[in-house]
Each structure stands twice: as structure tokens, then as C-alpha cells.
């Protein structure tokens, strides 16, 4: 049986880096995913059985408590919590299986592209990103899916982050809010520079007035009105910021903004590197959940689409160019 192409309808020429992956998949990944897929139906069945039993027992207990013993209705909360807890425990083997498939797929995909993948990022810090205000303040961080290597000759380091801010209400309850979910990455940049330039999203006139406090350097007013409408630029050196943000580069940033959403994109030139924070609404590099076939090529296609973002950054910003002007 032949599978449809995982590269979708796009012509192969648009994905030159993936040429030859089909045979690589057959050789390197297919057997491993098939082995994991064999374990999946039994684990899914077990999950449904446990959850079904927990729901039935919980429902029966609720009926008895409310109609027979006339207990306090608040006990229903404990029953619901117990059912949810059992459901979570029952899902864990499936989650582990899904993660194993994801790690195997991403490792294989990255190896094919000459990149390195780590499920748990190593040697990463958000301190500088926070100092530059590329990410909002947070109390908890969840980092995963680190990909490093060079894309079209440009060294980069990318990982996925979920940042959570905790707050307390008047009753002392703790609320957890996700303030950032997306990709954080840095790319080597071909121009030499010593200062810092921050390109943050525009917050309208009123918002920009308050947003400028705490930003690094001073406001850099640029000539491109469309760019100015979409972004606010701050820098430690007026000339250097303009050296980095040439009219052409501003246009390229606008194109990248169209790809990821202008409101989702923030950049900074700092310590010789280009840093990017790209907000996303969904988890990247997951492929799919544990309830669908692990060998389904659409899962790999999804992971490839997530990976193409790296190449889109390089291509849109033309980071591979050696020009110094």
C-alpha cells in the first residue's frame, strides 16, 4: 500500500530541504512508529474503560448522595475531582506513547535536516528575553522542543515556551494565566553590531505611550510608514538601529509578520544575534493527539509545517545573505 505524499499539494521545488525524506521515512522512522502504533489501541481501550467506569461509579455515587443520603451537594465537587484525577491517571500511558512518537518523529525529521532536537531544552535562559521585554513577566515557565543547528547556513536555536503568571484574588485563591505561548529563537546575524535594537508590536498611540517605559534605549522613528504602523522600535544607538533596519529589512520583517501575524511577532538585535518571539495559539511540533493513528503521515506533515517556520524566518529576512549593507 502506498501512502499519499506527506508534503501535501505544494510542489517539491518549494520544499527543497525535504527532497528525499520519503525514503528516509521508510528507512528510519516507519518501523518505529508502527511499533508504537501497535501499543496504542490497547491503551486507548484501557483509557475508555477506566474513564467509563469512573464516570459510572461517580454518577452512581452522586445520585446516592443526593437522593438517598441527602448529603451536602458540595460533595459533588469531590466526586468530580476524583473522576478527573482517575481520567488523568488513565491518560498518562497514552500521553507517554504520544510523546514517544513525537520525540521519535522530531528527532528523525531534524536529523534528516541536519538539525538537533531535544525534548527538554538544554542551556537556555529567558533572562535576556525578559530584560528586552520580548516576553511578558511570568512566574512559571514550561519549555520544550528545542531545535538547534543551521538553516541555509545560518546558526539558530529555537524552543517552545509556555509562560504562566500567577495572581491571587481577595479570597486567596490562586489563578494561573498563560501570558505567552509560542516559539522563542535566536539566529546569527551577518552584520556586526554592539548595541541593542528592539522591534516590538504597536500598541496604538495610547498604549505606546505607556509601553515605552521600561523599554531599552530610546524610540527610533523610521521612514517606512507601514512599518511604523505595525511596530515600535527602540534602540540604544540611533545610527546602528538604522544600519540594521534598512528599508529592505523593514519590508522583510513586514513579510514575516504577514506569515506569523504582525501582533504575534517581536524581534530584537542583541549581542550579535537576532532574537525572535513568535506567539502561537497552539502547541507546535506535536503532530497530533494520542487518539489518532501514530503512523498517519498527516502528523508528520504537521510537524514539517511547524519546522518550515524556521526556514521561513531565514527566507523572509534573507538572513543567509552575506551583504553588509
Amino acid at each position: 500500500m502506498t501512502h499519499p505524499s506527506p508534503w501535501g499539494k505544494k510542489p517539491q521545488s518549494e520544499r527543497p530541504t525535504m527532497a528525499g525524506f520519503q525514503s528516509f521515512y521508510e528507512r528510519d522512522l516507519k518501523d518505529e512508529l508502527s511499533r508504537l502504533e501497535q501499543e496504542r489501541p490497547a491503551k486507548v481501550k484501557r483509557f475508555y474503560l477506566i474513564v467509563g467506569a469512573a464516570l459510572t461509579t461517580g454518577g452512581a455515587a452522586a445520585v446516592i448522595l443526593l437522593t438517598v443520603t441527602h448529603s451536602d451537594p458540595q460533595l459533588l465537587f469531590f466526586i468530580a475531582a476524583a473522576v478527573a484525577g482517575i481520567g488523568w491517571l488513565a491518560y498518562r500511558p497514552l500521553a507517554r506513547l504520544q510523546q514517544a512518537a513525537k520525540v521519535r518523529t522530531m528527532t528523525s525529521l531534524c536529523r534528516f535536516l541536519g538539525l538537533t532536537y531535544h525534548l527538554k531544552p538544554v542551556a537556555v535562559s529567558l533572562t535576556r528575553l525578559r530584560e528586552l521585554d520580548l516576553v511578558p513577566s511570568y512566574h512559571e515557565q514550561k519549555l520544550e522542543d528545542q531545535i538547534t543547528g543551521d538553516a541555509r547556513g545560518v546558526d539558530f536555536d529555537l524552543f517552545e515556551a509556555k509562560l504562566i503568571r500567577k495572581s491571587h484574588d481577595s479570597k486567596g485563591n490562586t489563578h494561573r494565566t498563560t501570558v505567552f505561548r509560542g516559539l522563542l529563537c535566536h539566529f546569527d546575524f551577518h552584520k556586526d553590531f554592539t548595541g541593542t535594537t528592539l522591534i516590538s508590536r504597536d500598541h496604538s498611540k495610547f498604549g505606546n505611550f505607556f509601553a515605552k517605559f521600561g523599554k531599552i534605549g530610546e524610540r527610533i522613528k523610521l521612514e517606512d510608514p507601514e512599518f511604523e504602523r505595525l511596530f515600535e522600535v527602540y534602540g540604544t544607538d540611533q545610527v546602528e538601529s538604522r544600519y540594521l533596519l534598512t528599508p529592505l529589512f523593514m519590508e522583510r520583517i513586514r513579510h514575516l509578520g504577514q506569515r506569523v501575524g504582525h501582533d504575534n511577532l517581536q524581534l530584537a538585535f542583541d549581542r550579535g544575534r537576532l532574537l525572535l518571539a513568535i506567539k502561537k495559539n497552539e502547541n507546535s511540533f506535536e503532530g497530533g493527539n494520542a487518539f489518532s493513528d501514530l503512523t498517519d503521515l498527516s502528523r508528520i506533515q504537521k510537524s514539517i509545517e511547524d519546522l518550515t517556520l524556521i526556514y521561513d524566518v531565514v527566507d523572509n529576512l534573507r538572513l543567509e545573505l552575506e551583504t553588509r549593507v
Binding site: 544600519y243 551583504t323 549593507v325
Partner: protein, 187 residues
């Protein structure tokens, strides 16, 4: 009393307007200084480039003499607060840039020079310096726009006249840069 308050209010307003004008002029002068810093790099680099080229471009003595002369002209001192002198200085720099572009265009006809490692490195540095000059020029022109708008629009124009603050010239690109490429020149 009311008249006194009105006059006092107008004086305070005039002071802030004046302070704003001085701030804008200082910002333009600061931008002009940053251009000079970058132009100095160009001037420092030129003798090295000409020295390397001299070995290969023996028949282009006239062109090299022109570049040297333009460099000497552009390197002359000027009064930064005199807009005519600033305009003259910037025009001389544009002339030098134009001569340099012409020089590099002619250098293309000398394959040995083009492949010379020292020349390749010098040209890369030159490109980098030109990138910085372009950035400094954009900063300067942006500051000059803010100053000129403030100086030329009433009531800023009246306050500027009293305070002896005048508009400053823009740093225009060299003509050779602005012209579209005519393919027939190269056929």
C-alpha cells in the same frame, strides 16, 4: 491681573517652544556629528583602497587623482552651525561618494584587482562603512525634518528667527546612486 496671567502664560509657552526648537537643533547637530564619525571611516579607508588599486590601475591615474581631490575637498573643516557650510560639506561628501562609485565601476574592468584578496577585504569594509553612512544619513535627515518643520511653521518660525535658529540642509544621496541603471551603458 488677568492680562498679567495671559502674558505670563504666553511667555511660558514661548519658552517651551524655544526649548523644543533648541532641542531639535541639537538633535540635528548630534546627527550631523554621527555622520562625520562615519564619513571619517570612509576617508581613512580611501588611501588604502587607492594604494591597492594603484598597482593594477596604472591607466586610471586621472580617476584616482579625482577621488583624491574629492576626498581632500570633503575633508575640509566647516562651521556646523552655518547651514550653507553644512550644505557645502554634505555636497562635497556626495561628490566623493559619486567618485568612489565611479572608481569601483571602473575597477570591475580589472580582473586581477577584483580577485586581489586585499582589495576584496577593502571593498567589504567599504560596503560596511557605506551601510553605516547610509544609516547616519537617515538619522540626520529624520532629525532635520523635525527641525525644519518646527522652524518653518508659524509660530515656531517667529521664535526661531528671534533665537537665530535656522533650517538645516538635507544630506541627499549622490546622483549616481539615484539614477536607474541604464542597461545600454553596459552593452
Amino acid at each position: 491681573m488677568i492680562y498679567l496671567a495671559i502674558v505670563g502664560g504666553i511667555l511660558v509657552l514661548c519658552y517651551f517652544w524655544y526649548a523644543s526648537l533648541v532641542g531639535k537643533r541639537n538633535s540635528a547637530l548630534e546627527a550631523l556629528s554621527s555622520i562625520d564619525v562615519q564619513l571619517k571611516k570612509r576617508h581613512d579607508l580611501l588611501p588604502n583602497i587607492l594604494k591597492i588599486a594603484k598597482r593594477f590601475m596604472d591607466h586610471e591615474k586621472e580617476l584616482m587623482a579625482k577621488v583624491t581631490e574629492m576626498r581632500a575637498q570633503a575633508g575640509k573643516g566647516y562651521d556646523r552651525k552655518n547651514s550653507d557650510e553644512v550644505a557645502g560639506h554634505l555636497a562635497a561628501e556626495s561628490g566623493l561618494q559619486s567618485a568612489m562609485m565611479q572608481f569601483f565601476a571602473v575597477a570591475e574592468n580589472y580582473p586581477d584587482l577584483k580577485s586581489n584578496q586585499n582589495m576584496i577585504r577593502a571593498q567589504q569594509t567599504f560596503e560596511e562603512v557605506e551601510g553605516h553612512i547610509a544609516a547616519a544619513r537617515r538619522f540626520y535627515n529624520s532629525s532635520v525634518t523635525a527641525l525644519n518643520n518646527a522652524v518653518q511653521i508659524f509660530p515656531g518660525s517667529a521664535i526661531a528667527r528671534m533665537a537665530n535658529i535656522s533650517a538645516m540642509p538635507y544630506f541627499e544621496m549622490a546622483e549616481i546612486e539615484k539614477k536607474p541603471v541604464d542597461a545600454s551603458d553596459y552593452l
